[in-house]
Symmetry: C2
Subunit: 383 residues, 2 copies
């Protein structure tokens, strides 16, 4: 296996960035969106579907995979790539976000709706209960690294403490300081030559904390850096203010990942603030709930107006769903709760997100990103 | 559209038959198994999956489609083929079986588990309640024909009365006589040049009734004939005795369809009794419940012994599931109730059924069907 990792910033357009991120499993053109494969599968899609949707890198959820089927088993079976038959790049999260969000009853991974679990945080790590069977588990920064190395992800995320969105400044400061201490422990135990570590910048919506933590985290020499602790309940305006404030303190020649964001418009905004990588369950989860993204805004497929609509979901989309099926048929499948619906809808939404990223990359290359963004946002509003 | 229909019996081997059935949507090599697409989709599979599994003809359920989305809507949208983007042949059942089996709380279609619905049968037709919303519906032989013509199936089934498996001889006789009277009404109202009608032979497990009804039904000049009223709760031995007794009174040069059967071994038995066509929800329903058919018998994928099993479900299978994924991964998906599992498992089981039919056809062509059947049954028992 190649162990070459690199990030090449090819062009900027305002703060928007066009780059390539090289991993042993392939080259990723940025800006990019990463579909979420929580339990070793992007819900309802197979690897061929993912390739057809132009997926360049997947996100796997450490929390879910450590509990089922277990990271040792995945390692024994040859790693997550082989296990799920996905030969492209994979990024795994640290598991921390799910552990903490379960404490607040709002897991971001796909498929975990068990809230109110008992979570205890101390300086060493976190103790929590399994969402599957209630069994008690312990996770330290060292455990998270070991598990992610077992999974064999190309990009491994540092184990951080992500406080709730409306935390006090003191609580955010405390989580941020611990995140820094944990980062050093993560780095020390990240021994695999097949993976690279990303650090995570916390600091909530507080500009001074964001600046301080960005400086602390980027002082550690890592392959890339993420912005965590956003999209956790704060206002959109506060999110972009914090994001924009943070990116200015991040190194230019390393990839920047905004975690857990967001809508198509959010991705456009993120790119305008200099973000290179995104992940979110929104395209797949919304698909399953009947919300389809199109170049002219959302299609709520259950609506009666689609009953006899023989058009594809999006006339500008080249995905298998749009090439093959009508809105009328998708509505029928959705109302009938047919399994085929979930795949067709997920395939479309993922294709839509990834095509949007492709168009954004092209716009940056042309030096027309601002114009492109304004145009797409207007189209999304139906203008 | 071509309106050519024909059946060509190419070879016999004992009672087993090798034929070709031509319809406007394509040629079907028999013996053949028809995957069941209850609600305008074979659960979890798309048309490309079905083609890859070597599907030659699908079955659609009139009962489900008339209630949702409604046959007029399907007609307006261009018919069932276009609606579901399946350009191969389709056979629709009459709706009668589901109506009657719902009265007994055991619908054979995929996805209808609502029992105890009120069903009233009279000479004119049947009154029943929708399994979706409890609304009252009326279906006569004329309605069934109209609905099936709306759907635009290549092969349309006569509206028959199928009595429960353990009915008294008098009750079977009554249902059988009514089925004959209804067949004449069906034939009179079957006006589409794009479809052909199959009659259904009833008579339960009573040999004299089977003989009498086979003679009555086959006296009507139709494109093909089906054996109904079996696989409804009677013993296997009684089923095959009744089936074998019936086929001898069926015309040699018309296709013979045994409705609602069955396991892989049942298909082998049916072929040995001179059956050309089969349908059953078993491969797809069993797939979803974790039962996978293989050349060496059943794989119950939840079993712990598959936890680290890196073999495909069936080493002799060329389906995408077996070419791509391990038993260990499928077990993980099944236990995690992941949507991808249902598709991968259904694709495999349907492929298995259709490959078995292909091998049966080859065995008949070689004049070795009996030997082939014995060998396959032994393999299914794990011998």
């Amino acid at each position: 296996m190649m162990t070459t990792f690199s990030f090449d910033l090819k062009k900027t357009d305002g703060k928007a960035r066009r780059g390539t991120l090289t991993t042993p499993h392939g080259v990723i053109e940025t800006p990019i969106f990463m579909p979420v494969g929580t339990q070793g599968t992007v819900k309802s899609l197979d690897p061929v579907d993912l390739k057809e949707a132009n997926t360049q890198i997947l996100l796997g959820n450490t929390y879910h995979l450590m509990l089922r089927p277990g990271s040792e088993l995945v390692a024994e079976l040859g790693g997550l790539h082989k296990f799920m038959a996905w030969n492209g790049p994979i990024l795994t999260d640290s598991g921390g976000f799910q552990v903490f969000s379960l404490a607040q009853g709002e897991a971001r991974g796909e498929g975990s709706n068990v809230g109110g679990s008992l979570v205890k945080i101390d300086e060493e790590g976190v103790t929590f209960r399994s969402y599957i069977d209630g069994s008690s588990h312990r996770m330290t920064p060292e455990d998270s690294m070991r598990i992610q190395m077992n999974l064999g992800a190309d990009i491994i995320m540092a184990f951080d403490q992500c406080p709730p969105g409306k935390s006090s400044k003191a609580a955010v400061q405390q989580a941020m300081d611990r995140t820094t201490r944990w980062l050093y422990r993560c780095k020390d135990s990240m021994t695999s030559p097949h993976s690279r570590l990303f650090g995570i910048i916390q600091g909530g919506i507080y500009e001074d904390l964001r600046e301080a933590h960005a400086k602390e985290i980027t002082q550690v020499d890592l392959f890339g850096y993420a912005i965590g602790g956003l999209s956790v309940g704060e206002e959109k305006e506060a999110l972009w203010k914090a994001c924009g404030h943070t990116t200015q303190f991040m190194p230019e020649h390393k990839p920047r990942y905004l975690m857990g964001v967001g809508t198509p418009d959010d991705l456009l905004d993120g790119i305008s603030h200099g973000i290179d990588m995104f992940d979110c369950v929104m395209p797949t989860r919304n698909a399953r709930n009947g919300f389809l993204f199109t170049s002219r805004g959302k299609v709520i497929i259950r609506n009666g107006k689609y009953q006899k609509d023989t058009r594809p979901v999006d006339e500008n989309c080249a995905c298998m769903t749009c090439k093959t099926f009508t809105r009328a048929y998708l509505r029928h499948l959705y109302k009938s709760q047919e399994l085929l619906y979930y795949r067709l809808a997920s395939l479309h939404n993922i294709t839509y997100y990834l095509r949007l990223m492709e168009e954004a990359r092209e716009a940056i290359e042309r030096g027309e990103y601002a114009r492109f963004m304004a145009k797409r946002k207007a189209a999304h509003r139906g203008e």
